[in-house]
Amino acid sequence: MILEGLTRCWPEKPPVFSGLNLTVEPGSLTCLLGPSGCGKSTLLRCAASLDTPEQGRILIDGAEVYSPSADRQLILQDDNQLLPWLNVADNIDFPRRMGAAGSEGADADFLLSLVGLPNAGSLYPVQLSGGMRQRAVLARALAANPRYLLLDEPFAALDAEIRSRLHRVLAEIRSGRDLTILLVTHDVGEALVLADRIVYMNAKGELSPPEKNPLGPERDSESPDFFREMIRMRRRYELLL
């Protein structure tokens, strides 16, 4: 996915970002780190074609895309994303019932097991905790068999233990799938744990060139290296604020 020369403005305000370029490598997990209000979520919506930039284009496999597609699934931080009138299994089956492209072979039971909710299919969203809901949303997004997952701070409202469990779930989901993930966060630790590549966005909506995660593929979140890198990144991040 290539985001090329994107500019997004709100009326009578300076541009959220202007002439922004970003290339998301296929199969990678790219973390977009930046302070609140810098335009990360707007960028993610543009990448999902759920928001239309004033200038620039989005290229997938070299072709420009204009309209949203189930192939690029957006997950928000919102606690209320599941449809409350359907139970969890029906929520996950929703893309298939709606005839979304790629969802034909979706198996709700398998997806629920994958996200660690094997017995929650018959429950309704109101009966789930925040962490369970986010896992169910993840399963629902996977039911559309997307090539791209666009995650807008999906774990921000959860406590540390559930967040680290969901990080493991996300890592498991990635293994064995051709899935490209663009994750927006302002949690430096989360970026270090999950990302292959990290991109900083400053308060003016400018992007730094993508950097490889200094920790490499084998990451131990309790190692001294992890903490050293986290401190270094946090200092850099604070300079952006």
């Binding site: 999902a48 759920l50 309209s67 949203p68 597609s69 189930a70 690029r72 699934q73 957006l74 928000l76 919102d78 209320n80 994303q81 449809l83 409350p84 009138w85 929703f94 893309p95 709606m98 979304a100 309704y124 969203p125 109101v126 559309a144």
Partner: protein, 274 residues
């Protein structure tokens, strides 16, 4: 040591629910005949104006045993339900129109603002010209009473949908029709039930009033016609018995059907903490 049940913490909403449960509200009704008799004892009214509670009870029992009151009651419910269904179908059609076209939405918004506050009986002279008197006229008044509150509530529900649901529908590239049927309509369901509740109460009142003005529905007439007949015959106990039936039906619908339904749906939708 095992904690006794008495010492266990009871959530506040459970306490609230048990104190003000529907069944307890109904127990208070038993006190009304006593209050009625106290008032009669103090003001000593003409029995035609304020009959004794035992006379009202006897009239209620006689009309029930003869089958007159239950048949009129069932007929009233049937006509109001039919009007409610027509009104609901009309409101759904108007909402669909309003959602699919901005000009239609603007026109309907003005039209609903004009029609919603208009009492059905104010249309009486026109309705008599259009439909004459009888069942059709009464049905028209009921549909008018139901249509606008359901439309206004449903419109408001669709405008206040959770943004994440509509965003999800767009993410799946659902068309307008699928979004309306599978996202907007179920998403606005709690508002639809609120509209039905308001619509039902308005329809019930409109039916009783319309029947007293337009005449009996069917061959026998409903509760409105019984009120009218009892007044003409100066049969005060039967008049009060019919009035009590009208009031208790309204309260029962609220407490045991529509009110409960709305609470259950709002809990499921996460609008009320279960």
């Amino acid at each position: 040591m095992e904690q006794s049940e008495k010492n266990l913490c009871k959530p506040r909403h459970t306490v609230f629910r048990s104190r003000f449960s529907a069944s307890r509200r109904w127990l208070w009704l038993l006190a009304l005949p006593v209050l009625w008799e106290i008032i009669r004892f103090i003001i000593k009214p003409n029995p035609l104006l304020m009959p004794s509670s035992s006379d009202i009870f006897l009239a209620f029992r006689n009309d029930t045993v003869s089958g007159e009151l239950p048949i009129r009651w069932l007929l009233s419910l049937a006509v109001v339900s039919a009007g409610l269904l027509f009104g609901l179908a009309g409101a759904l059609a108007l909402v669909l129109l309003s959602r699919s076209n901005k000009t239609a939405a603007s026109i309907l918004s003005v039209f609903s603002s004009l029609m919603h506050p208009l009492p059905g009986l104010a249309l009486m002279p026109l309705v008599i010209l259009w439909f004459g008197t009888g069942t059709n006229a009464v049905l028209f008044i009921i549909v008018h009473a139901v249509l606008w509150p359901i439309f206004v509530n449903l419109e408001s529900g669709m405008r206040s949908l959770v943004p994440a649901w509509t965003l999800y529908a767009r993410n799946l590239s659902l068309g307008r029709w699928k979004t309306f049927v599978h996202i907007s309509l179920p998403g606005a369901f709690p508002h639809l039930i609120s509209g039905i509740r308001i619509g039902w109460a308005r329809a019930w009142r409109a039916f009783i009033a319309a029947e007293m003005v337009f005449g009996a529905v069917g061959t026998m007439g409903g509760l409105g016609w019984q009120l009218f007949e009892s007044r003409v015959m100066m049969d005060s106990p039967a008049l009060y018995a019919a009035l009590i039936t009208v009031m208790l039906t309204g309260m029962a619908m609220e407490d045991f059907l529509l009110g409960r339904w709305e609470t259950r749906v709002r809990k499921k939708w996460g609008e009320i903490v279960p």
